[in-house]
């Protein structure tokens, strides 16, 4: 064995952790002061972005475990998880390649998930670690609540003098709760309507394409 091979052997042993190297404060200080390589341009920013994504994912996963009510309209579920995770609409919208306004409309129930492209909806499921089966009752709830809100909103406005531009989140939540209650007493049907089933089939395809079959169970 020659010197080169010995050094290769030593290097490999350290690299693979087969022989431990001592790491003291002075050694680490030295390595930080004279790093063996240079950090490429843009690396710091990319690492920071990756770290932010990891932290957001962890926060969403943790918050998702805490929100167990699957009778919530889909948008309200997203909003509850997002708020529990301590994330802003802007952060979530960026992850979904969407806008704050679109996300707000989805959270409030101004639009139902069915208005989204199946691919975009699949992205939401992936981001919120939500299985398709869990999302189904929430989509149905969204549609029903959204339909009811459309009916009750003008009534609320005319009776309460609520202007469109003055609609606060509190009023929206109150409308949600009211619509949900009215739907419960009026309609006990729980099956997903045909349009939802068709939409979910397309979302299923998107999840399969993305290799997220774990969300199909």
């Amino acid at each position: 064995m020659d010197e080169k091979k010995i050094n290769q052997l030593l290097s490999s042993a350290v690299k693979h952790g087969d022989i431990p190297v001592q790491l003291t404060d002075s050694i680490v200080d030295g390595l930080l002061e004279h790093p063996p390589g240079q950090i490429a341009h843009g690396t710091t920013e990319r690492v920071r972005a990756k770290l932010e994504i990891r932290m957001q994912d962890a926060a969403i996963a943790q918050a998702g475990h805490q929100v167990t009510d699957r009778s919530l309209p889909f948008g309200r579920f997203l909003e509850t998880v997002r708020e529990k995770a301590g994330l802003t609409r802007t952060q979530i919208a960026r992850r979904l390649r969407s806008t704050d306004t679109d996300l707000q409309r989805l959270e409030r129930g101004d639009v139902t998930p069915l208005a989204m492209a199946p691919r975009s909806f699949a992205d939401v499921l992936v981001l919120f670690h939500l299985k398709l089966a869990s999302a189904t009752p929430m989509i149905v709830a969204s549609i029903r609540v959204s339909d009811s809100k459309r009916t009750y909103r003008p009534a609320a406005r005319s009776h309460g003098g609520i202007l469109r531009e003055a609609r606060s989140d509190d009023i929206e939540r109150a409308l949600d709760a009211f619509a949900k209650k009215m739907q419960k007493s009026k309609n006990s049907q729980t099956d997903a309507p045909a349009e939802v089933a068709a939409y979910l089939a397309r979302v299923r395809n998107e999840l399969q394409k993305a290799g997220r079959t774990d969300l199909l169970e």
């Binding site: 050094n7 030593l10 087969d18 190297v21 680490v28």
Partner: protein, 146 residues
């Protein structure tokens, strides 16, 4: 740590994420500085990466080249490793670290600082230690499992 740049970015973000999660277990004023603690996490992540890729490299070699280039994987050969571990036991701590760090191409000047010596002295010490190791390999001394 000899990790390709794209993988290094993943590992770096993973390390920082671990740091944010485990920071409560770091003892301020304990046996190591925060930077050393973080570096240790980074080193372990890099080792995990190399161990994972080592398996893949060997499999690639075996499947595609019929194992003809096995010699290039001699450095990872378990027998060689056992031999090296046995030999290194006969070295002082400082010489052992010197050999290992030089194997990772750390500058003599940096190692000299850690050892509290001059660059020239570190170079001489390394040359002697390496010569001793080479001599042992030539003599075919096998101390593995001793």
């Amino acid at each position: 740590m000899d990790v390709p740049e794209a993988d290094a970015e993943e590992i770096a973000s993973d390390v920082l994420f671990t740091v944010t999660r485990k920071i409560h277990s770091f003892k301020c004023g304990g046996r190591a500085k925060l930077t050393t603690w973080i570096y240790e996490i980074a080193k372990n992540r890099a080792i995990d990466f190399h161990r994972k890729t080592r398996v893949e490299e060997v499999e690639f070699d075996d499947n595609t080249r019929g194992g003809q280039n096995r010699e290039s994987f001699a450095c990872r050969n378990q027998t060689m490793l056992s031999w090296l571990e046995g030999e290194l036991r006969d070295f002082s701590d400082a010489d052992r670290q010197l050999l290992l760090w030089r194997g990772r191409e750390i500058e003599y000047a940096t190692i000299a600082q850690w050892l509290g010596t001059t660059e020239g002295a570190a170079r001489t010490r390394h040359t002697r230690a390496l010569a001793k190791l080479l001599e042992a390999s030539r003599m075919g001394v096998r101390k593995a499992g001793r």
